[in-house]
Amino acid sequence: MKLRTALMGAICVLGSTTVAMAERGADGHVNVLYWQAPSILNPYLSSGTKDVETGSLVLEGLAGFDEKGVVFPRLAVDVPTVENGGITEDLMQITWKLKPGLVWSDGTPVTSADAKFTYEYCTHPEGGCAQAARYEGIASIETPDAETIVIKYTAPKPNPYTAFVGGTSPLLQAAQFANCLGAAASTCTEQNFKPIGTGPFMVKDFKVNDTVELEANPNYRDPAKPAFATMTVKGGGDATAAARAVMETGEFDYAWNTQINPEQQEQMKAAGKGVLLNGFGTLVERIEMNMTDPSPDLAEGERSTTKHPHPFLSDIRVRKALSMAIDRQILVDIGYGSAGRATCNLVPAPEMFASTNTDCIAQDMEGAKALLDEAGWTDSDGDGIRDKDGKKLHILYQTSTNPVRQDFQAVIKDWWTELGVEVELKNIDASVFFGGDAGSPDTFQKFYSDVEMYANNFDGTDPEPYLAQYLCDKIPGPENQWQGENINRFCDPAYDALVAELSTTADMAKRAEIAIKLNEMLTKDSYVVVPLVDRGRLSAASNTLGGVVLNTWDTELWNAQDWFRMK
């Protein structure tokens, strides 16, 4: 055993020396598998993860997020902060400096004008830019010289690391996209398929929804990187087949998002050709409680609106009892294995924003029953279902069609039935459920059921916009074509006030404190949102691929320039 450890150590040392001596293109070819195939490489025209992440091999922002969620400079010299004077004290302005001598892959210099152009490209009213939220609140961008970018905001911006930070808002080359502004954006097929970037790779060939062939960027700023001369990103198939191609047959070096069930995970690990990487971000599978009455007896336009509070879910004791009856660890075991963990928080990460609350983890069926008794819900006619004032405790529980979600529904239904609640299950095709069609009764926004389950997360590391979804004025209803984000119709003036405070607080420690409080107001203090599982990323990497670090805060291919072949 000792010998083996020593050998492993020796291999590691050898490995690291190869990295140190590596030169660009020395390690040949690397194969990456995205089973959802990339459709386009311009992240401003697609919000799909597959497109953004593949595009990030070519296009880069001024800064990015590392695997801990910390902002690090890419094209910028350093990350501006209030301390280093990059951000003004009033939080109205941030100044970025480009690294000197930066060039695009075609050899032309990268200048601040490219950044300004990118901002104009994404904020053009007819462009339909998918990442417009990254540029929200910007009053103007000034370029005093070729290397300086000054962003001015309309209001204090405590978190300015949105524009030009991360894979979702990279710099475009102004010269290449000059004719692609606004409505012309989708006529620029050549540009959208083969953007010129500053990243470690450049596009050689792009086949829509199939393959991207890349080669090392000869003008990449680090002359020793990337170690691979060429890369293929292949698409198609499903998560299981993707995992198999890395873990069992070894045809591919890296496969993205190989969400497979725990049993298959074990089986594939046994083949010994690769490892499953997992990392946790902010994606939380949760049950949302409807605070308004979804009864079909109400007139259309009044169902699930604030005019009618929910007959029993507006009682916190009922909501809490439903949460207490759930054993979250069992859900993790049947659905996600190592790619999931039980959580009680809506904001499970980054660490500084995550509440330490673990009250909900242990199932407490007796406590839940007692709580319902206390709330006046008892089984008066002995049919196993609790009732109160002649009304039965009946819950309609909806979610999207997806095997794991239907398993969850069945198990949770068992627990709730044991609790004395009659549960009716419903599942809706994901394209309808998340389709947002105001004419459909089955969207998650309309919420024509008592509880519903889905997963959501937030972009980047700052939970403010995410927590601000629960403001009173964001409640969906007929007057806003059911487009609000406050799905639960939760409304608490104290909550609104705290969100307002968060939006003007710059001190990170204070922001974290407020965010934790807001998270708790939605979860353990009110049980309006009942978090179930913190869903991690699960990707597969070959044993021969070195340098892979799974990052859940930015694109998974964030450090492809550091990848190398283990010898």
Partner: protein, 335 residues
């Protein structure tokens, strides 16, 4: 015969228009929207802008007429431009895919070769396997070979390709390591080595589809042969002292092939249609996988255009089958 063909061609126009209407509205009115492809992290205002830029908000009949114009006018003009280097279609808006924001026909042109190579070969292999099995099974009806042929056909018919495909992957790729599980679409056949590589990567999808195709066609062949074997002219041929080889392969086979040729011709549009499941399973970037990805991505223009192209092909090959039938069998000419 010519008038018959012309009349059928003319009749095809209203049929196709009606089909285009049905397809467009069915796909459009079906539940689901491109909005469901946008992650929940995108705020509602941005979401609305994206949808507007896709043109989703226009009334459905406006979109239908625009699509018809693009399909029958702009796209053919683009085709002419591409072939002759002209610029008739300059500045005209083509049918644009929601997912990739690129012209739908460019994607189709990109994918047709793979589909024709893989699915076409599978069809050919299927036919080549099916005909001998069908012929010999009929000739030796109820023999061991016939029973085995029936079992083979039953398996081909009843086991879905997603199952055989996965089974083949596990047997031939995971355990035996003979073939790659993923089709390398970037491979260019330039020399003997790359040709062998191409054969290896085509092997599994062709086997899976060949099995399914062969099953159906072998049954048609067998029953058609059986119909003819009992005919008077067969007895006459034998009475005249012809050997069995001539009787079976010349007299019976020729006559039995008539319905089988029709069946084979009617199956050809399905080659262009690709094989949705098999292509997706093996990562062949053909038309079938384009269709399923478009359906998953709620890429309506892509789905509508592909479905309509299939409709055109089916109408066309029905016509071809009818004409072929008349040519093969002088008794049923149409004039």
């Amino acid at each position: 015969m010519l008038t018959f063909t012309l009349r059928r061609l003319l009749l095809a126009i209203p049929t196709l228009l009606l089909i285009s209407l049905v397809i467009f509205f069915l796909v459009d009115l079906a539940p689901g929207s491109p909005a469901s492809e946008i992650p929940l992290t995108v705020p509602p205002e941005v979401r609305a802008k994206i949808l507007e830029s896709l043109g989703v908000n226009q009334p459905v009949w406006v979109r239908y007429l625009l699509w018809l114009k693009q399909f029958f006018w702009v796209e053919p003009l683009n085709g002419i431009d591409a072939i002759f280097g002209t610029d008739y279609a300059e500045g005209m808006q083509r049918i644009i895919s929601y997912q990739s924001r690129s012209p739908v026909f460019a994607i189709i042109a990109d994918r047709i070769p793979q589909t024709l190579t893989v699915i076409g070969t599978a069809y050919l292999v299927g036919v080549l396997i099916a005909l001998p099995i069908g012929i010999y099974s009929a000739y030796r009806q109820y023999s061991l070979f016939d029973q085995l042929g029936t079992v083979f056909a039953m398996i081909g018919f009843s086991v879905p390709t997603f199952f055989t495909g996965t089974l083949f992957i596990i047997i031939f790729a995971v355990y035996l390591g003979w073939f790659p599980t993923k089709y390398d679409t970037t491979l260019n056949v330039t020399d003997w080595d790359s040709f062998l590589k191409q054969l290896r990567q085509m092997a599994m999808p062709v086997m899976v589809l060949g099995l399914a195709n062969a099953a159906a066609i072998s049954r048609y062949m067998r029953s058609s042969m059986l119909d003819n074997m009992g005919q008077d002219y067969v007895r006459t041929a034998r009475a005249k002292g012809m050997n069995e080889r001539v009787v079976v392969l010349k007299h019976v086979l020729r006559n039995s092939l008539i319905p089988v040729v029709t069946v084979i011709a009617l199956g050809i549009p399905s080659i262009f249609g690709g094989a949705i499941i098999t292509e997706n399973l093996f990562g062949v970037n053909g038309i079938g996988s384009a269709l399923i990805q478009a359906i998953h991505g709620n890429d309506l223009p892509m789905v509508q255009t592909l479905a309509f192209i299939f409709a055109i092909l089916i109408v066309l090959f029905n016509l071809i089958a009818d004409v072929l039938y008349g040519m093969l069998d002088p008794r049923i000419r149409y004039d």
